[in-house]
């Protein structure tokens, strides 16, 4: 009991310990803010990728795609663990507004909007047809015209506050989309005749996925039209990918393993077919694996930040070590007195570790509270800074970030607080060890006073 009382008194009556508490609080504050923002960005980015892809993708990197997909889609739709399936045509095309001689390269995705919305978060990215996705490709000004859904950055520009300007309904704009159809062998279909497939689609909706590259270069087109224009609607039809959503109870790995099993069986069944060779290029990947190039970069940044803030933790350890070293030198007489009344070496370590625990606990609580309050107001603060000084953490005209993530994760907070307390205990360990090595006789000598 005396250890608790003394630890608390040392904490309250020794000003130097305030600095230790302050150092811990500052470190915790910084780590909470940075880790919350970073974790929020990474989680948000992952979620957006998950929404864009669905749970699993069976697809080929080749622009030629693969055949016999209809049979495999039937198998998937019959599988217990599959919730929804969407066949997708992927390719590249030139997009030029009608009446103008300019064009730009874009990625195209041919989808059935209803099926794709069931398998992915497509519907929620739309602006005009969010509630009736079946009409995503029907321009409101003339439903009979073939529609296209543009990535939002192709049709609108963000202002400095990351806000887009929307019209009440899409304006009548036609885009000539030029495709480069490929044969099943990868040759340009109609090569030699100079043939490319060009068709005009009319702007029917916007898609805002929150993924910068997708929003700035992707055009969604009706599945059948895209298949035809890409040269994949021959006698043996082809697609580039099948996006799959699993039932809620199915784990990602289990689901992907089951799909891979189905795919391998399917491939064996089709081994004797004409275009069976195309199936060799197909892989089964989870959404994480499918988007790993992008996600890995973010995760790497997060890991680097964690390592950097690990160094902040080491600084905390060092500050606590110095404070405790000074305190124990100052309190050597107390150690001698305690030993003279029967306190053991373990009691002395317990006393200073208890003290370190209190420093860590109080510092962590102050840091967590400060961090939480700061995060609650971080977006307002950034708005104020932008309004008065034109400063933004991320330039919204360049980064597809809305608000700065400020959702505090209890797990992250717990880990940070635990680490801070552990850092304090580590910092206190060496001076405590030094304290118990002091001979009571030496500490009680007159010249120690």
């Amino acid at each position: 009991m005396y250890k608790i009382i003394l630890a608390m008194r040392y904490l309250l009556r020794r000003r130097i310990t305030y600095f230790a508490v302050l150092a811990v609080a500052l470190c915790v504050f910084i780590v909470v803010v940075v880790m919350t923002v970073m974790t929020g960005l990474v989680d948000d980015f992952k979620q957006k990728n998950h929404d864009f892809v669905g749970d699993c993708v069976v697809g080929s990197e080749s622009l030629v795609g693969f055949a016999y997909y209809e049979d495999f889609v039937k198998e998937l739709e019959g599988a217990e663990f599959v919730e929804a399936v969407s066949e997708v045509i992927k390719g590249y095309a030139l997009l030029s507004p009608r009446g103008r001689d300019v064009n730009r390269g874009v990625e195209i995705m041919g989808i059935d909007p209803v099926r794709h919305s069931r398998a992915t978060g497509f519907a929620s990215t739309l602006y005009y047809r969010k509630d009736d996705v079946s009409r995503a490709f029907e321009p409101s000004y003339d439903p009979n015209l073939p529609g296209c859904v543009l990535g939002i950055d192709l049709a609108s520009q963000r202002d400095a506050n990351s806000h887009y300007s929307y019209q009440a309904s899409p304006s009548r704009v036609g885009f000539a989309v030029t495709f480069f159809p490929l044969t099943a062998r990868g040759a340009l279909a109609g090569a030699g005749a100079g043939l490319v497939n060009t068709k005009t689609f009319y702007y029917s909706d916007l898609s805002q996925s929150g993924l910068a590259r997708v929003d700035s270069s992707l055009v969604y087109l009706p599945f059948k039209e895209a298949q035809l224009l890409c040269g994949m609607a021959g006698p043996v039809k082809r697609v580039n990918a099948i996006h799959i959503k699993f039932k809620p109870a199915v784990g990602l790995k289990a689901g992907c393993d089951a799909v891979a099993l189905l795919w391998n069986k399917f491939k064996e069944q089709k081994a004797g077919e004409n275009q069976a060779y195309l199936l060799d290029t197909v892989t089964v990947q989870s959404w994480k694996s499918y988007r790993r190039m992008l996600i890995a970069a973010m995760e790497k940044e997060q890991t680097m930040m964690t390592v950097m803030f690990g160094f902040v933790g080491i600084v905390t350890v060092f500050i606590v070590l110095v404070v405790f070293y000074m305190l124990i030198n100052h309190k050597s007489k107390d150690i001698g007195v305690l030993r003279s009344i029967g306190a053991s070496a373990a009691d002395i370590i317990g006393l200073f570790c208890g003290f370190a625990f209190l420093v860590g606990l109080i510092g962590s609580l102050i840091g967590l509270l400060g961090g939480w309050l700061f995060l609650l107001r971080i977006n307002r603060l950034e708005d104020w800074l932008f309004e008065h000084f034109g400063y933004q953490v991320w330039d919204r005209t360049m980064f597809a970030i809305g608000d700065i993530p400020s959702q505090v994760s209890p797990r992250v907070l717990a880990v940070i607080a635990f680490s801070a307390i552990a850092a304090c205990l580590i910092g206190a360990l060496v001076p405590s060890w030094q304290a118990i090595r002091l001979k009571p006789v030496e500490t009680l000598q007159v010249n120690q006073l």
Binding site: G342, V441, L449
Partner: protein, 232 residues
Amino acid sequence: MSERDIILKSEGVYKSYRMGVTRVKVLKGLDLAVERGEFAAIVGASGSGKSTLLHILGALDKPDKGIVQFEGRDLGRQSGRELNRFRNRMVGFVFQFYHLLDELSVLENVFLPAMASRSILGWFGCRKWAKNRAGELLEQLGLAERAMHKPYQLSGGERQRVAIARALMNEPRLLLADEPTGNLDSATGNGILDVLEKLNTAGQTIVMVTHDERIAARARRIITLADGRIKS
């Protein structure tokens, strides 16, 4: 002096310290016996090893060679845990410079030894008793009004009386006092000696170290330490 009456005994105790490159021999085969209920004063010149001897007798330090027995038990054969218990229960220390803990009140300083020997639960079980006992000791020593003060708010004599109360908290069988009046004026020092005399009259065994023959004269037995041995 029968063996049964002896509470503390040392035989052939040697102790030396390293001072720079030389080794200073402080105690050179010291033999000593203290009877139960005795008030013994160890006198000697400065640097004669009085305090060293007291620390060895109270198990705060270990001899290089020799035996120290308390109630027939060899302290050199006791484990660290047993020595901690010995210092907590069997012996009470009074130091020249009081050595009170500044962070604690007078009352807390007094019941500190009772707290030190108990777990948190054990302490809650005996807290009332310990506070009462500490209060009684302070009252006996004329410090009842000072219980809630901090050590730095007391005079030297008052601090030394608090130190005596702390030493007596666990009703030790032996009180070891290292120059208890060394830091006090004559009148205050006499007051402390009166307290020690009273305690001894009540049956408390006391071993006091002093360099002052006049103070030693207040004890019932004077032991002179010279050249690392007891001078008979």
